[in-house]
Symmetry: C2
Subunit: 215 residues, 2 copies
């Protein structure tokens, strides 16, 4: 089945695609064949019209009274999201967060290729994490350039994140996953996605505090 | 200076507050006294009108031609976000991600209190992570209830996340930080914030794939 994205998917819809994909894959693994927009809406606490609107961006149609074929939907979303591509990655920062990323089940399961793990701490260089030896930051640019690495994962302290990003960008990286709690400035051609760990805790604590003061 | 939130902060503004806070704190640490909405906008790649609109929700005014007092702004944002409260937390899942959270510098620095680390894996129970001994999941509910734990951190595989959340919610948790790639259903009184690690990689890979096909 040929799959093409009709037009650019808005960011909010794209963010929901990752949830639809996780849900459709879980159904497929359970052997469930059909999923309606209402099922997706109920499971993900959305409205069914949001779900239907989002899925209009895909060349994939449901069948009246049955809904969407779960495995087919998972396939189209996988292709649209690029989840079927063995992207080449580097990880900078061999602390606990970098380590957790490198050893993440999903990273292994999806077949992503980690081309190198880097740190500037002499105590970490040479250490092994999973199958990878931590290398000196000074080798980062040449590894990215020679291997046409796609994605750089930044797992360093906030104050070092921009400098690491600048090195990656100059070496030709195409996208950055930022685990540091700081904004990274990049040219338009290099997408940066923030993994908001501490920011997530702050949003929760704001919600809890607001609920307490309005009691 | 008394600080009060005028009205409910919209989610998008709240999400930017965490960025303003990080930036204002960095300025304060560098000894910079004043920051304008244009400075904030430039550093975070926003428009200055977005910044000004966002800050209207705070009872905090800038001074003409000088801007905002950086330390004061950091203080108001800290209070608004609840970043000054030593929230009580539990962590479920003593794998690499759970471990990285527990040992996260910012968790220690902000004075959050981790009341327990739990897992259902007999090989992990009894293990030590930082100062914490990993406990059996069966003790989770009583630890949350007895200590009025505020925030539950879920760092288990996707298929187990909802079950863990249900236990936390029944025991009286007030907010959940979800590191699993699955949607968690919760009652309105319990906020769930997703830390989108794999989803972040999928968003990047979609962007890279789209850029390649449009070349």
């Amino acid at each position: 089945m040929p799959v093409a994205v009709r037009k650019q998917v808005p960011p909010a819809a794209l963010s929901r695609y990752t949830k639809y994909l996780a849900y459709a894959q879980a159904l497929k693994n359970k052997g469930v064949q059909w999923v309606s927009s209402q099922d997706l809406a109920d499971a993900l606490e959305l409205t069914s019209s949001t779900v239907r609107q989002d899925l209009l961006y895909l060349d994939f149609s449901g069948i009246s009274k049955k809904g969407y074929d779960a495995a087919g939907l998972a396939g189209v979303l996988t292709e649209t999201l690029g989840a079927d591509v063995p992207w080449k990655m580097v990880v900078v920062g061999a602390g606990n967060l970098g380590r957790a990323l490198i050893l993440h089940d999903e990273i292994l399961r999806r077949g992503y290729r980690i081309l190198g793990v880097f740190d500037n701490d002499g105590n970490k260089i040479g250490m092994r994490i999973g199958g990878y030896e931590v290398r000196d930051m000074r080798a980062l640019a040449s590894v990215i350039g020679k291997n046409s690495v796609d994605i750089g994962i930044i797992a360093v302290p906030a104050q070092a994140a921009q400098e690491v990003a600048d090195l990656m960008i100059a070496a030709g990286i195409r996208g950055i996953l930022n685990l540091a709690m700081t904004h990274i400035v990049s040219p338009a051609r290099v997408n940066v996605v923030d993994v908001r760990i501490m920011a997530g805790i702050l949003e929760l604590s704001h919600a809890i505090k607001s609920a307490s003061t309005s009691d």
